[in-house]
Symmetry: C2
Subunit: 453 residues, 2 copies
C-alpha cells in the first residue's frame, strides 16, 4: 500500500484526484503541489463572473485550507514541480516564495498539470490590456481592468466557445465586441448549419464577426495598452483584447521524465489513468483520451473529463480499482439567447475516421408548438451508412437543446444505431416535449435518408 | 399484396397507422372508421385547452377531409364497427347517421379502438356537470360549461396525472379545486419522496387534496347538476366534477372475434403488432405492450407508444417490415410550477418483478447553483442489487427534469448498469448544467449505496 501520494496541479483534475485518493485510502498522506496561488476553481465559470452572473467568492470550491480540512489533503501552493525522477521516486520542487529547490518523495504520483493557452507569438502580446481566460489570477485582473479603466471596445481573438462566452460577457458589460477568427465561420468543428445560426445570433447581439482573420501584431501605447489589433486585412481599434485560441497540454515535464506522450501531445494513459511509468498516473487537460466514437486517441481538454479521470487516477493511486473508458467530446455553449451543443464526431472528423458519412438536418419544436416557451430548434445528425450508427450530433436553438444533446450523447457513446433511437420510449407532455420528441423526429428523418441508395 | 386496409379507430394510433399504410403502399385503399365525429386530435392537449394555453382550432391535427387530402386515407366518421368476422375478412359496421348496418370487406385490418375512462358505477354519475377528459366532444362540452355556467367549485375524482393537469387548468380558470384520491398520496406509482413534493406543490397552489377518499355517490339537483360529492368520510360541495380514474382497453370487439387478449385486458400482439388472427393488427390503447424492464406484458396507454405502434402496424399491414420492441412507461407531467417525470418501473413494481431493489434519492442543482434559473431537483433511482441495472427513475423539480428523465429512459430501456451511467460523457456549461450533471450525481450516489453490504 502506498504511504505518500503526491498530486501535481490544483485546478480541477488535481483536487478531484487528491480528494478521491484520501477517501479511498485514509491512511495515506496526500500532498498537492500547485505553482499558482489558487486551487480548485471553476475555469468554465469565469465568463459568467466577468459577465456578472457569478460572484467572485463562488468561483473557488475549496481554498487550500478547506481542501485540507474537508478532504484531508495537504496543499502547497506557490510550489512548482520542476522535475520528476521516476527511478528515485522523487520530485524536484521549487518553493516560489522562498526561492528554494528541494526534493520531495512519493510512492504514487498523479500528474494533473493541465493545459496552457495557445499564444499568437507576435509582437506586443504581453501588453497589459491583453487577457486570457484561464487562471483565476487572469480573471481577477480582467475584472478589475474593466471596472477601473472602463474599456469601450473589445477585440476577441478566437471564435471558439470561450470566444462566444466572452463576447456575451463583455456585451453585458456594454462593450462593443469584435471577434477575429481564423476560419470563415464561428466555432470550427460544428456543422455549417449550426455555425450559420451562431453567426446570425452574434449579429443580432451587435457582435462584429470577422472571419478568415490573421492577427499579425498589436499597436501598443506608452501605457502598455493595445490601441489596435493589426491583421492581414486591416486593423481594429480596441481598448481590450481577449486571446481565446484554445489550449495545449502541459506534458513537457512528463516527457522529460520518460513518460509516454501520445500523438496528440497529451500524456498517454491506460483506462486506469496509469502512465507507462510505474506508480505514475495522469488526469485532466495534460492527458489525451480515447475517443469512444472512432476508438482513436484525442485531445479533449474539458472539465467533465478531467474530473472523472481525477477520480479514477486518485482511486487507483490509492490502491483501489477504477476505470475511465473514454469520451466522445460533449460540448455545450450558450451564445446569447441560444443553446448550442455538439456531441460526438463532426462530419469532417467522421470522414477522416473512415466512416461512410450521411448527415441530415431537421427543424423541430422544442415543446408542443403552441405551448409557452416552445421554440424551433435544429438538429444535425452525423451517421455511418454502413452500420447505421449515430456518430455525432449538433443541436442549436433557444429551448431544450443541451439536455436533449446529452441523450444523444448516450446513444453515441454506446454505439447505438439510428433504428435503436427510433425505438426510444421517451416521456411526453405538452409543456415539455412534442408527442414526437425532436430526438425521434431527427432519428426518423435520418433513417429515411439512410435507406435511400 | 393487400388491396384494402381497414383501420378501426381515429384518435391517435389509428390515423398514424392509416397514414403509414398508405405511404408504405400507395396502391392500397386505406379506409378508417371512427364512431365519433372527430378524428386525429391530441387528448394530452385537452387540459391545456381547458386551461387556456392551447386554442381549440389547434387540438385537431387532421380533419377527415384533411386526412384524405394529405395522407390519402378514406375516413368514415360516425361509423361504429360492431363485429369482426375474421373468417370472412369482413366487418359489420353501423352507419350511425343513417342508422344502418352494412358489411365492409378488408384484406388487412388494424384495430386502434383505444381505451375508455373508468367509471365509478355509483348513482348520479350521468349528471351533466360531471365530465371526463378523453374525447374531443367531452372537452368542448366542459369548456362551454365553464364559460356559460361559471362554476366556482370543482371536485376532481382521481389524483393521477390527468387529475394533476386538470387541477392546474381549473385553477387557472379561477375555480376552487378539491382532489379526491383513493390512495393517501397523489400519483400512485411514483415514489413517496416524489409524491410528497407534489402534495406540497398542490397545497401551495390552493388545491385541496383528500387522500383515502371513496366516492359513494352524487347529490344531483333538478337541473341535473351535482351539488355534492358524497364520500365515506364526508361530502364536498361542488359545481363541477371531473372524473379522472384512468382508462380501460377497448378490446371487447377483438375478444368476441377470437383475437387473443392478454392478462392485462389489452389485445396481445407480437413485435410486428400482429394479433393471433391472420391479417389482423392492433395498435395503441387497446393493446398491451411488452415492458422492456421486466419483459412482462403491461398495459401502458400512452400516445407516445400508440403512435409508434400505429406506424409499425400500418407498415406491416401494407406489406412492409417493422417492429415495435416494447416500452418502459415513460411519463411526464407538469404540476403547476414543477416538472415531474417517471421512467421505468416503480420500486413496488420492481419488487413484484423479483428484482432485489435498492433505491437512492439525491437532491442536486439543475444548473450551476448561482446561474439564473437554477433550481434544486430530486432524483430517486431504483436499481437491482444483483445486476446493478437501473430499473426506474423518478425526477421532480422546477427546472431541467423531463429532458434529463429521458436520458435515464435510454439507460433503462437498454438495460444499462449504474456504472455504465457513471461513465457518461455529458456536455457541461454553467447556464445549462453543473459540472457533475444531476444524472451523474444520482448514479454516483446509487453506486455507493449498491456497494454497501
Amino acid at each position: 500500500m502506498p504511504k505518500r501520494i503526491v498530486v501535481i496541479g490544483g485546478v480541477a483534475a488535481g483536487p478531484s484526484a487528491a480528494a478521491k485518493a484520501k477517501r479511498t485510502n485514509p491512511d495515506c498522506d496526500v500532498v498537492l503541489f500547485e505553482q499558482n496561488e489558487h486551487i480548485s476553481y471553476g475555469v468554465c465559470e469565469i465568463p459568467y463572473y466577468i459577465g456578472g452572473d457569478v460572484e467572485q467568492s463562488r468561483l473557488v470550491s475549496n481554498t487550500p485550507a478547506q481542501l485540507r480540512e474537508r478532504k484531508g489533503v495537504e496543499v502547497r501552493v506557490l510550489h512548482r514541480v520542476e522535475e520528476i525522477l521516476p527511478a528515485k521516486k522523487k520530485l524536484i520542487v521549487r518553493d516560489i516564495a522562498l526561492a528554494k529547490l528541494r526534493e520531495e518523495p512519493y510512492d504514487r504520483l498523479i500528474l494533473a498539470t493541465g493545459s496552457r493557452p495557445k499564444r499568437l507569438g507576435v509582437d506586443g502580446e504581453d501588453a497589459r490590456s491583453i487577457f486570457i481566460v484561464k487562471a483565476l489570477e487572469d480573471a481577477y485582473r480582467l475584472y478589475e481592468y474593466i471596472k477601473s479603466e472602463k474599456p469601450k471596445h473589445a477585440v476577441i481573438i478566437g471564435g471558439g466557445y470561450i470566444g462566444m462566452e466572452m463576447a456575451e460577457a463583455l456585451r453585458s458589460r456594454s462593450l462593443d465586441v469584435t471577434i477575429l477568427h481564423r476560419h470563415n465561420l464561428p466555432m470550427h468543428g460544428l456543422e455549417k448549419e449550426t455555425q450559420e445560426w451562431i453567426l446570425r445570433e452574434l449579429a443580432m447581439n451587435d457582435v462584429q464577426f470577422i472571419g478568415e482573420a490573421t492577427t499579425e501584431g498589436f499597436v501598443v501605447d506608452k501605457l502598455k495598452r493595445v490601441s489596435h489589433v493589426v491583421t492581414k486585412d486591416g486593423s481594429f481599434k480596441t481598448d481590450l483584447v481577449i486571446l481565446a485560441l484554445g489550449v495545449l497540454p502541459n506534458s513537457e515535464i512528463a516527457q522529460k521524465a520518460g513518460i509516454r506522450i501520445g500523438t496528440t501531445g497529451g500524456i498517454r494513459t491506460d483506462q486506469r489513468q496509469e502512465t507507462n511509468c510505474d506508480n505514475i498516473y495522469a488526469a485532466g487537460d495534460c492527458c489525451e483520451v480515447k475517443n469512444l466514437v472512432n476508438d482513436k486517441p484525442s485531445y479533449i481538454p474539458l472539465a467533465t473529463i478531467g474530473s472523472k479521470q481525477g477520480w479514477v487516477a486518485g482511486e487507483n493511486a490509492a490502491g483501489g480499482s477504477a476505470a475511465f473508458r473514454g469520451a466522445i467530446r460533449s460540448i455545450a455553449v450558450k451564445v446569447f439567447g441560444i443553446e448550442v451543443a455538439r456531441v460526438g464526431l463532426s462530419s469532417e472528423e467522421a470522414r477522416a475516421s473512415g466512416f461512410d458519412v450521411v448527415t441530415e438536418s431537421v427543424s423541430a419544436w422544442s415543446k408542443v408548438a403552441m405551448m409557452p416557451g416552445s421554440a424551433k430548434l435544429s438538429i444535425t445528425m452525423i451517421a455511418d451508412r454502413r452500420t447505421k450508427r449515430l456518430l455525432g450530433v449538433n443541436m442549436i436553438g433557444s429551448d431544450g437543446v443541451v439536455l436533449r444533446a446529452n441523450t444523444f450523447a448516450v446513444a453515441i457513446q454506446n454505439k447505438m444505431s439510428i433504428s435503436d433511437i427510433q425505438q426510444w420510449d421517451l416521456a411526453y407532455s405538452p409543456p415539455f416535449t412534442p408527442l414526437w420528441d425532436p430526438i425521434l423526429v431527427a432519428a426518423n428523418a435520418t433513417s429515411r435518408k439512410l435507406s435511400k441508395p
